[in-house]
Symmetry: C2
Subunit: 689 residues, 2 copies
Amino acid sequence: MILSALLTSVGINLGLCFLFFVLYSILRKQPGNITVYAPRLVAEGETQQRGQFNLESLLPTAGWVRKAWQPSEEEFLSNVGLDAVVYMRIFTFSLKVFTIGGIVGIFVLLPVNYFGDQLSHDISDLASKSLDSFSISNVNNGSNWLWIHFCAAYLFTGVVCYLLYYEYRYISSKRIAYFYSSKPQPQQFTILVRGVPVPSGSTCGETVESFFTENHPSTYLSHSVVRRSSKLQGLISDAEKLYRRLAHLKLKNHTPQEFKRDGFLGLFGRKVDILDHYEKKLEDLLDNVRLEQSSLAGKEVPAAFVSFKSRLGAAVALHIQQGVKPTEWLTGQAPEPQDVHWPFFSASYTKSWICKLVVFIACVALTILFLIPVVLVQGLTNLDQLETWFPFLESILNLTVVSEVITGYLPSLILQMFLSFVPPIMIMFSSFQGYISLSQIEKSACIKVLWFTIWNIFFANVLSGSALYRVNVFLEPKEIPSVLAEAVPGQASFFIAYVVTSGWTSLLSSELFRLTPLMKSYFKRVFAGKAGDEFEVPSIPYHSDIPKILFFGLLGVTYFFLAPLILPFLLVYYCMGYIIYRNQVSGMPSFLNIQVILSLMSFTHPSSSLIYVAPKKKRYCQKRFLPIFKAYPQECLVKKDRKDLNDPSIAEFYEALVTAYKGPTLMPIQYPGSSDGRSSPLLLHAAQV
Amino acid sequence: MILSALLTSVGINLGLCFLFFVLYSILRKQPGNITVYAPRLVAEGETQQRGQFNLESLLPTAGWVRKAWQPSEEEFLSNVGLDAVVYMRIFTFSLKVFTIGGIVGIFVLLPVNYFGDQLSHDISDLASKSLDSFSISNVNNGSNWLWIHFCAAYLFTGVVCYLLYYEYRYISSKRIAYFYSSKPQPQQFTILVRGVPVPSGSTCGETVESFFTENHPSTYLSHSVVRRSSKLQGLISDAEKLYRRLAHLKLKNHTPQEFKRDGFLGLFGRKVDILDHYEKKLEDLLDNVRLEQSSLAGKEVPAAFVSFKSRLGAAVALHIQQGVKPTEWLTGQAPEPQDVHWPFFSASYTKSWICKLVVFIACVALTILFLIPVVLVQGLTNLDQLETWFPFLESILNLTVVSEVITGYLPSLILQMFLSFVPPIMIMFSSFQGYISLSQIEKSACIKVLWFTIWNIFFANVLSGSALYRVNVFLEPKEIPSVLAEAVPGQASFFIAYVVTSGWTSLLSSELFRLTPLMKSYFKRVFAGKAGDEFEVPSIPYHSDIPKILFFGLLGVTYFFLAPLILPFLLVYYCMGYIIYRNQVSGMPSFLNIQVILSLMSFTHPSSSLIYVAPKKKRYCQKRFLPIFKAYPQECLVKKDRKDLNDPSIAEFYEALVTAYKGPTLMPIQYPGSSDGRSSPLLLHAAQV
């Protein structure tokens, strides 16, 4: 790739970015788009304040940038929560690292590279120079200038180590501070006990009760046995959906009575009033639910959530092996009540073990084999092929613009499309793996997507750059290093373009402009005419975003001393990302609990240090900081417990704690007519906590 | 090696074994050897019952075999302790495994091997047949008979898995039973805290006191700060030696007054009464000790032994992270008071880290490079070389017997001699590694010796069998499997001979007959004339014995389906070992604490399962049983603590507990004159516990 080509690409993408920016600035002010751009306001019911259409709302303004920039970290913390703060710090951390890297790279390494003459210097025109002239490939073989690269690499490693240490320390102190300031939460007082050895003639509940009153006489509070309830969950989820639709219909009192046929697909049968129809259906469903609930007693799983009177009591049971047999009375941290992944408990041990194995194989297979269909589909964009298949397209395809778009943009569009399926697939895989909480599922999916990205974008591109080696390289392991040494710098220009297109533009289009939800909402309004009908508040898709951010970090670190030209583009990416995510995070509710992002930190930081620094340092940081992300130390627990003793509301909290982990399937079900129409009465447990 | 050669070797070694057996049967009855063969009796002061010399004591009898065989496991447990029982179970376990393996190997695999005709069958004489005819090498290439070998291998693996499971379960139940039946022990109530963050202007003791009264208000009992005391320890150890010698001299009242010159090496200077001389020296030493003790206050190490009122209290502090910073308030299990390796605490963090690194490198270097000097020395046994160097030996060397002994026995003798240095070296290495207890040092040395043995005996012999490959093989990793596939069965006959010579004969000579201690004791009596002067009770050298036993297990498992002829010899080895060690263990006091062997079990069993079975099974067993060897579960702790509440002696125990971990250097020192002459008053702490 020559310099002018890069500049063209940057120009096009800058234009696109500007377009999305302007469009967002206008569209966000349109009342119709409020569910797309400010779902939190909708969820909090502040939508009524918005005015009607006026001309001003058609002018693009950048006020939201200022708004997103303004709040200090403390305000951010109190408004949005710790997980969002930590998420934003990934950006500030990357910015710090790559600012320093960028200064060294651009002002020291780039000139050194440029004034080497390993590559031919026939072209004196700057614009037509190959980008490789700016990379380490241009330094003469055996030149002493290479020492500068080594020094820079070590200096950079040192700086990253220091920054990482500082970051870890900061976040762990924040975590402790958050813990001190938090109200009593059920998950702090509760553990999940699995492998309860139920003797014949006794129930799981009795066994748990007697074991914990015996061994934790002073701290044991209560327990909730987990029950096998997949069927019931299906019924309840159906009932909830139906109820929400009904409530929506009732709200729209002014609409004319709608009728619907009660036969197949609503097309046949006699006409019925749609309201009556839904109410009757819901009634049936609720009867089924009650029936199922009463028969649940026999479907106990040998697992229970056990609550204690103090955090220390829960910690003791969590950390000390409980039963004599290490396979019985297994204890684990309880997730937040609304974060529990109930269906998991339905699986037997063997089944979940097989699931894990299958998921592992499926992941590896998907990661390795993903490129095959993509390459095949990309082969279709071969113009001659297309002309042969669809002769009537010939005249169109011969236009330069069309052919350039098809050959230039279609392959990457197809790749992006395929890639966008990966995070949901990984989430699906992870949910089969037997995790007990939604956040664990998300974390596991995040790890999977990261490895997938590293393999399929980084290595596949690096190796396919020299297609000759693609197969041979694995047959001769000895040559892998030399192949990589040749291929990695060679792909620098590709990755610079990748940062610009996939980083900048898709960041703006997908995260800021929210193209897909916007189009969905638009089509819904136009064709279905039921905007806001089944409104669901989105959360930040950590599992697809974090791997992307980390991957750009990997690119930056890898190419810092190979081709420093990539760094300015990365810096722009992180700056834009910082602003945009600050804007999004404030606009969106963070439904995910604090544990997600913190446990993600515990993954992402070791993983980024794996990328950034030597293993020695990594081990130190793991030893030094990882424990704090896994459990709270006794010092904190005792202090916090002591504070609770003086809290008058603790008795009330204990009461709520007893029922907190009953599970959605065992909550009493209210008749929907008595509700206020905004929150589902079926989700009572969420309100209680 | 042909069959008759093997039979000759077996015959010679059987003869040697019989000789040692007879000699032991006679010598053990001689009163002079009682310190060699029954040190426990000496230590328990039961030596007086033995009669004087009579003719009967010159007749070899096998009564000791019956005596060693007789006691049941319960008797054994109550007399000698759990560690000895577990040690013996390694033998019974190996016997079980190889009995089953032997039956399958001899009656199924051996005939299959023998009736193959891959190797030439020109020789019809059974005695001159190569041993390879009995190995898998004799099965025809591509023969269907090989399936029998595979089936046998899987069957064997299954049996070993089952037996291992059963063994683990048995021993873990024994461990719990032992815990229930044990008296309160200081190490059950105590933890070692390291990394105490001492604020300036405060002492370590105050910091520990305030931290634990704050965070463990109901269970904290006391603490002992560790002090840097290498110098003091040297003084005390000198004083103890001197005191023991003095006590011994005083006991021998009937001996005439001995004089000694007080100058250099006792050769010059004026004559002094030896008793007065020693007493004065001891007095000086004790003054020094007291002086050093009083100046110790400033030499605090930021570490302390913290004792609790209940086992559960100690377990809580052990398992839960104590301080906010994970590098501070590090907790670990306390070893038994007499098992603490005090010198370790003298090292600073950096120093101990460097020590660890150095030891690791030294171990690897020793393990890999050990063979070089051995091969060089063995080269000396080349007769021509010797004759050139020492021409006067020519006539002797030309004798067939002498030359056979030199070429046949000398190399293996030299190898054995070199090998005997390895366990002490490994112990030395391990003691530099910063372990806090002697048993941990022994365990670590045990692991080192095991790897050393596997590398230097197994791989070195296997690979040197085909010397051509020795260097090349590491340059072409792809060929390692094929080289091993050729070399491992080829060395079967060597290992059969190895089992017979190194297993049988050295077991009898070193363990039963105790050749080295016997010769030492003999030379002492003859030359120094001071038998029993500085009598030290030996303990079983677990770190050199267990690797040997495990190594024979490895041989058995490896050659079970390659060359099953090895199994009967192994079975004989384990049978002999069982009887002999039962005899030794009853005769020797097990000074090592229960933790040694149990933590060794936690190593040896995973390690043997690493050898025996597939990793899957290993992981299951680790998960299923390993936790119980590391810490006691809450169920047991609570039950045991509750029992203590009713024990009237617990108050007394608490009092002793407070001073249990003061360390030998802080114990009050009594004047030696006041003691009864049998136990050292300097070792007061051992008696208190």
